[in-house]
Subunit: 379 residues, 2 copies
């Protein structure tokens, strides 16, 4: 009888969902998730035996959290997802993402499944070693605006690096436009940062945005590495989560990866559907190999709450067997004036990503960068 | 002065957004989108000249549609996106996806930008030619449940093909699991469909699911082609939109592509944010090269409204210069009993995707498939 129990190890992973509904509805919807995410077949047509008993997702716990909402834990056979991140995401939330009133809150993967993932190559400790910064929060800024020439962007990069910024990334909108073609931009910016490092003795990294069409992504990453980029900026919402994992896991690249949230906003737009901040910007981003997870901090141009940002911090460091903790990287409207308040919440293991705010303090970007660094060193 | 107007052609594309807010708020938010999606820089810091005048997105129209909602049309320089689908999606909705109360409704790309996209290789006419079905709606079903062996899945495929189904796709949850490893499954199912075609004289296509990790995706597609798969099932929410475009555009594959909505649900979960059904399952799916756009029809297990489904049909055939119209492919709970009602709305240029429903009519799947075909031929 297919599938034959011999292929099933009995190892299972779990996912926790918030489900809208009264106790009866919520339980029925939880059971339904188990079918929808696996066999996608009416329950009465599913063959008895290992498919019904093990392949189908099982409700292992359900708690009503209010008159019309419950939290359910479902377990799935590890074999349903195998070692593929694409299929893992599919089992966790593929079709169910299309059903209203169901939110993926968290995932819990056993070591046997996590073993298929390298996760972040550097993580917090590795990135600190690369940068030579053992304790304080790290400083990051972005090269912008779109429209600048490679030389203009490189001039900015030089000033930021001279002033002591740790990570200087391309703005996520810098692709391969005629204003600043990819190779010319990366070469100019990498050289500028190296020249500044030679003066300062710092280990500032230039991080090229390699987000690109599928058939050019790997090539861009190799070119970036060859031209001296010290890291890779990737938007998983644009290239797919697994493409980020593939780049992060590539030993020939061996570069830290910063994950950018472009096009991911819809996942967290509603508290009743989508994927939680904790799981999306924490757990999944880590599993996909990013060393830093960029997200818009509360109090800036975006609308994440302080609580949602704290959930991301938790997700970035939640125990996940051998998968390393990564840096929460709040951005999206951070200013020098808010650093104290932000540090108090985010703690020292944070990368502060300041874009426009770093241009505000004075017209002298070297001085502004130094001031940013002094503020953080004093914390 | 960077960037120098010489790089800017003056050609622009537009995007229409629904924005929450009273007239004053809505206009301010519309202007803000133009900055956020391009320079991502405070307006007063953007250099005067071509960057401010052309690179920044411009509000070209705004109409209040209610006391607290407006529709705004923004235009962007074609050079902001270049010929890259990843960057086009980034400009259309990257960061703005994270802002509440803004929905991407539609896109309008000029021929000079569309020229960078092949779009669907077959489209409606091409797929009809492949299948030898000039006029009636096409019939599609899925091989399931997950857990079945390659032989069990192939036995299903044989029966469906014998009964006259046009397109037999893997369930989107069939990846490379131990129950049915990719190569064995594809080989068995492709052979089964060919054997049935030899009997019937029909041109049924087996469509293998090649959704896979980034570093295996292309290889799976080539293997599928080599083993006799007549098409590719791809979930762009899992692999990224551009990965689907890359497969669809690959002349060495030259296979029709069916797009599956797994993990895309969050984009359409709220009427006030995300991306419209029209743009997501219509325009963007076409631009990304799918020949058929699978979505859950109203009245089944999911919650799309009839109006939303009709919007997808519009998006699947909306004039887009040389980009071909594609097949709306409603699924997600379609039954034999509902075919008349569905045909009246979807019209003849539709692929009806019936999974579980096709198992319900009787235990004889060949007979059920014949009945499905007869119903559709009589319409």
């Amino acid at each position: 009888m297919p599938p034959g129990g011999s292929q099933l190890s009995g190892e299972r992973f779990t996912a926790t969902y918030t489900i809208t509904g009264d106790p009866v509805e919520a339980r029925a919807r939880a059971v339904d998730i188990g079918y929808e995410q696996t066999v996608e077949f009416p329950a009465d047509l599913v063959p008895a035996g290992p498919i019904r008993d093990q392949v189908v997702g099982q409700v292992v716990d359900i708690q009503q959290t209010g008159p019309s909402s419950a939290q359910a834990v479902l377990s799935y056979a590890c074999e349903d997802a195998g070692g593929e991140l694409t299929q893992l995401l599919n089992v966790l939330f593929g079709n169910t993402s299309i059903k209203p009133g169901i939110r993926l809150e968290r995932i819990d993967l056993p070591p046997v499944l996590l073993a298929a993932y390298r996760g972040p190559r550097f993580g917090r400790l590795g990135l600190r070693e690369l940068l030579g910064v053992p304790r304080r929060p790290l400083l990051c800024t972005a090269l912008k605006p779109m429209g600048f020439s490679p030389q203009a962007l490189a001039a900015l990069a030089y000033q930021f690096a001279l002033g002591g910024i740790d990570l200087i990334k391309d703005d996520h909108g810098l692709a391969d436009q005629p204003f600043a073609p990819f190779k010319e931009r990366v070469q100019a910016c990498a050289e500028a940062v190296q020249a500044a490092n030679a003066k300062t003795g710092f280990h500032c990294l230039y991080v090229a945005n390699v987000t690109a069409p599928a058939d050019q992504l790997e090539e861009r990453a190799y070119i970036a590495k060859a031209l001296g980029s010290g890291g890779l900026l990737v938007s998983p919402g644009l290239v797919g989560w697994d493409a980020m994992r593939s780049l992060a896991g590539d030993d020939r690249l061996s570069l830290p990866v910063l994950s950018h949230p472009a096009l991911l906003g819809s996942f967290t737009a509603s508290p009743e559907s989508g994927i939680s901040h904790f799981a999306l910007y924490g757990q999944i981003t880590r599993l996909a190999g990013a060393d830093a997870t960029i997200f818009p901090s509360w109090g800036g141009r975006f609308a994440f709450s302080r609580e949602e940002c704290v959930a991301i911090v938790r997700g970035s460091q939640e125990p996940m067997d051998t998968i390393r903790p990564i840096f929460p990287t709040p951005g999206g409207g951070i200013t020098l004036e808010r650093l104290g308040e932000l540090k108090a919440v985010y703690g020292p293991d944070t990368i502060f990503l300041m874009g426009g705010g770093l241009h505000r303090h004075s017209p002298d970007l070297v001085a502004n960068s130094r001031y940013f660094r002094e503020l953080v060193e004093m914390m």
